[in-house]
Symmetry: C2
DNA sequence: TTTTGTGAAGCGCTTCACAGCT
DNA sequence: AGCTGTGAAGCGCTTCACAAAA
């Protein structure tokens, strides 16, 4: 059965809580306290994993519903995390790049925790050659005109778009032309791109607004 | 009637599209093309505004459903934007501060577009006095020990928390003690705070994950 | 006894379809 | 003709309530 979108979002967050739990088991009741969602919702969300995830089923041929983790123990992170990963399609390493190395972009270069092999910083780009030469970075930096070549050569799938607002559309089109598959857009504009490129917008003012709405 | 949470989220985004539309009217069909949501959904979402928003109703005493914007014109941004603002509780100016002036935090200091009087950058804080003295900023910067005093004096309601992971919980507690109402947390940890403080987490790896899930 | 797992009930959101306005 | 506004139908998610396991 297909996993509802709403459940996917929660599973993603639940994964983070599990990761922060130092490997200790987590019961649905504890998860309720952490997240605010009812324990039913959490158990139901996890139950969606069972028909689609071989990892989840134990070796003995499953009969009936099949209990997994063990009755009164809570969920074991070392089993549940990979199960969620697999169900959501996150069980494969993806390379990404940072485009625009101003304050925002360069902050992401030196972020620890492109964790657990899920994402790998493959390159940074900027039109300003100075920045490319001066900045310290765990991954190689290139002038912007090499974007197409580098993205292809290293099969970079994702990009963090951190250029100023008025350069964003042009940069995004170059990324799309280079074959990028997904863009995290930090500029406050709606990018117009062919449908094969998935765009997700992250904009501080919108986040502030969402925060203010939740407070009201 | 109460506005469903899902509708609130869409209205918030719709507001952004209206703002980016240069004041031109927007029909529900055009909005469908921009957002991907069906025109029905959009019209329905907007209809939730009508019982709660005096601005929305025109002066002549409304009888029946009451058409507003004018038959075949599309929605007028100068009417719709304030209506959404009001319904979502965004029709009041709020002051915010930036805590932690590293690369990420200082990027937010010089962000244009704390737009339209909705949010006002009131202060920046850092434990490193050098940064406080050197950085250019449109708002005053203070050493961290002045947080409580400044937040109180200027009635700062919101904070962007941009300190490193291992300092985040302590900084958040100081903010809570100072009476802050909402925190946008950029550190990859779950803050434990009293319930009167609303927290919203913004974490790049989670955004990358969400992007990857949508692509699959 | 505690906690998971899940059919089925209940309910809220989305979609439909059409009335009403310009 | 074109587009908005909205009751009502339809459907998908959440919640319930209980069986099964440790």
């Amino acid at each position: 059965m297909a996993i509802p979108e709403s459940a996917k979002k929660r599973l993603l967050q639940l994964m983070r809580f599990l990761e922060q739990n130092n490997g200790a088991p987590l019961s649905s009741a504890e998860a309720e306290a952490l997240t605010g969602w009812s324990s039913c919702t959490i158990r139901k969300d996890i139950s969606y994993l069972s028909d689609r995830n071989p990892l989840w089923d134990t070796e003995e041929d499953r009969e009936g519903p099949g209990q997994k983790v063990g009755g009164a123990a809570g969920y074991l992170p070392e089993q549940l995390i990979p199960a969620i990963r697999k169900a959501l399609g996150l069980d494969r390493r993806r390379r990404f790049c940072v485009v625009g190395l101003g304050r925002l972009g360069s902050a992401f270069l030196n972020f620890r925790a492109y964790e657990l092999g899920e994402f790998e910083l493959a390159a940074g780009f900027d039109t300003n050659v100075n920045r490319v030469e001066i900045l310290k970075s765990p991954a190689p930096l290139y002038p912007a005109y090499k974007m197409g070549e580098v993205i292809n050569r290293f099969s970079v799938e994702l990009a963090l778009l951190c250029v100023p607002e008025d350069a964003a559309q042009a940069a995004a089109e170059k990324l799309a032309a280079a074959g990028i598959r997904g863009i995290l857009n930090f500029a406050p504009i709606a990018l117009k791109l062919p449908p094969e490129v998935t765009v997700r917008n992250v904009y501080v003012v919108d986040e502030l607004r969402a925060l203010a709405v939740r407070m009201a």
